[in-house]
């Protein structure tokens, strides 16, 4: 089966030249892998390499609408993992999910009614990889998701497709430090009343790293909520992309949507492409979006240096402060500190 990769002529891939970044080698035919930590009680894990898929995997695997890249992973992936958290099961400790290796890989995560989980996704930066990740949240389920993508000289693409039933909550943070080409695409369908998503993310890019976060949130029914806050610091010849589309379907009244993307450019070659977009087909909704690109505030910098803080440290402090509100929402203290730590290291590189 051959599935064509998108070119830059496709609007959604305008800022990310996938074909060029991949070159003739493409994603390759090797199999990438997904690993999880010890499986907690109340969680079922199934390796997608194995035969005899259980009914719940058969019922949900490959069922969510996919973009062209995700369709490729679905067609070509030989491995991956399926996870299910059983009804009303609250998994306290964060569960690690690691993707590594070269090629295509799939993951499926289901939270049954009333279940809750904190997922820490780590992307091994060494290989070119295309990950397709489906997440199905049942009624009143709650998923906290933290994804950390260290900088990588490879091409790393991931599509997350997500559906939420009534009152389900998805709170996610995406820390992305760039790749030769890095694309994270989220396709989120709010299908049940009371469902909500809270997406935040930070990117700190130096060198020629690229990081593209593209989201498409669809309010299929009313009384649903989506919040997005993405902050980017770009130095060197880095490129940060945010494309956020929010669609409010007809009759999805009472939808509440906010999206904000801000970038600081630290040099003349740094680039940020921020494109929030709203498509409102209902009448009674509350939607707001905004994007801003700027430089560090000269008054703030002078204030800090005049109090004895060296310029490099002052810049560091201000950049941290700029990113902080996008990090502060991470519920788990350890994970929040982990992201702060990764941001500190990346800011050292970008201000060096």
């Amino acid at each position: 089966m051959t599935v064509a990769l998108p070119t830059r002529r496709v609007e959604e891939w305008k800022y990310s030249d996938l074909a060029r970044a991949l070159g003739d080698a493409g994603f390759g035919e090797d199999g990438a892998r997904a690993f999880i930590g010890p499986v907690p009680q109340g969680v079922e894990a199934f390796s997608l390499d194995e035969p005899n898929r259980p009914e719940w995997v058969k019922a949900h695997y490959g069922k969510l609408p996919a973009n062209s890249v995700s369709a490729v992973s679905l067609a070509k992936a030989r491995g991956g993992i399926a996870l299910r958290v059983h009804k009303n099961k609250h998994v306290e400790a964060p569960l690690g999910l690691d993707f590594n290796g070269h090629g295509h890989v799939r993951a499926l995560l289901m939270l049954d009614e009333g279940a809750s989980l904190t997922l820490v996704e780590r992307c091994d930066p060494s290989d070119t990889r295309n990950t397709g990740f489906e997440i199905v949240l049942g009624r009143n389920a709650r998923l906290d998701h933290v994804r950390i993508a260290p900088n990588s000289s490879a091409v790393q693409v991931e599509e997350i497709s997500l559906t939420l039933a009534n009152d389900a909550q998805y709170r996610a943070h995406f820390a992305n430090f760039g790749a030769k080409l890095s694309r994270l695409e989220l396709a989120i369908a709010l299908q049940g009343e009371g469902a909500g998503v809270d997406l935040s993310g930070v990117s700190v890019l130096s060198g020629s790293f690229h990081a593209d976060v593209t989201t498409h949130v669809t309010h299929e029914v009313g009384q649903t909520q989506s919040m997005q806050l993405f902050k980017k610091v770009v130095g060197g010849g880095g490129q940060a992309v945010y494309q956020g589309k929010v669609t409010v379907k007809p009759h999805a009244d009472g939808s509440d949507s906010r999206q904000t993307a801000k970038a600081l450019l630290l040099g003349p070659r740094a680039e940020a492409d921020l494109k929030p977009e709203l498509e409102i087909l209902a009448d009674d909704v509350k939607c707001a979006h905004g994007a801003a690109v700027g430089d560090l505030d000269a008054d703030s910098l002078f204030y800090l240096t005049a109090r004895g803080i060296p310029e490099k440290e002052a810049r560091h402090l201000l950049l941290h402060a700029f990113l902080e509100d996008a990090i502060a929402g991470i519920a788990n203290t350890d994970l929040r500190e982990m992201v702060r730590g990764a941001v500190t290291v990346a800011l050292d590189q970008v201000t060096a």
Binding site: D297, A298, D299, S300, F302, Y303, L304, T305, A306, R307, G308, I309, P310, E311, E313, A314, L317, L318, H320, A321, F322, L323, E324, D325
Partner: protein, 249 residues
């Protein structure tokens, strides 16, 4: 302490200070008064080392050392403090964290041992109480949501903590009601000392009722046009800047 000779400064290619001279000795408090646009704020920024203020001619000596080549942080570590007219709001940095960074950066630059969080907190608390700076303010993001009075009190708290040798107070009275002004003035007066020089930059005579200067200078169109004792402020109040400048010409 401070000796400025024939200082010419341009901002964005436009000359603002045009041959300003000033000498302030340790233990003295000097007031610099002048109408809007006379160059008062330019002088304070030049002394603190803000980028974009180009010195075309003249010299600034601070404790015998040429100040011009030093970065703002080096000046701060050497004991120069500018209480700003408009303290900036910095969301995402708590006031306490900022104070700790500033104190330790200055100590590091002077080759002194850095203070740990507990020691900083102790030092801050001791000074904060007299200036009516609450614990809650210290936990908030720097100057964010602070009232005009709170911002100015925090400036004076920093002055008390850093113990500068030369303190420049730029329009510290602006935006303060009479109670806030009194509190800030008491804070400043408490810091008067034989080892410390202060420069009060102000448009109005009001502040000088509370902080009585040793000398008053009148700045107009980038130069000092009159100088006198504290009674000069009253004369200014009675006659207005225009007349005093005319008399001096």
């Amino acid at each position: 302490m401070l000796e400025i000779k024939n200082l010419h400064v341009a901002v964005g290619g436009k000359e603002i200070l045009k041959g300003l001279s000033l000498r302030v000795d340790a233990g003295e408090v000097h007031a610099i008064m002048g109408p809007n646009g006379s160059g008062k704020s330019t002088l304070s920024y030049v002394l603190a080392g803000r980028a974009g203020y180009e010195i075309i001619e003249g010299s600034i000596l601070y404790r015998g050392e040429d100040l011009v080549a030093l970065a703002p942080e080096e000046r701060a570590a050497k004991g120069i403090f500018l209480a700003m007219q408009y303290p900036v709001e910095i969301p995402g940095v708590t006031t306490m964290m900022f104070l700790k960074s500033a104190i330790n950066a200055q100590r590091r630059a002077r080759g002194e041992v850095e203070l740990d969080a507990v020691a900083v907190l102790k030092a801050v608390r001791k000074k904060a109480a007299t200036l009516n700076v609450s614990e809650e303010m210290l936990k908030r993001a720097l100057n964010v949501g602070f009232s005009g009075g709170e911002k100015k009190r925090l400036e004076i708290l920093q002055m008390a903590l850093f113990e500068p040798k030369l303190a420049i107070l730029d329009e510290t009275d602006s935006g303060l009601d009479i109670d806030a002004l009194r509190l800030v003035a008491e804070g400043v007066n408490a810091l008067r000392s034989p080892e410390r020089a202060m420069l009060l930059i102000t448009h109005y005579q009001r502040l000088l009722d509370y902080i009585v200067p040793d000398r008053i200078h009148v700045l107009a169109k980038g130069r000092m046009v009159a100088e006198g004792g504290k009674e000069l402020a009253l004369e200014l109040e009675a006659k207005g800047y225009e007349q005093i400048i005319k008399d001096a010409a």
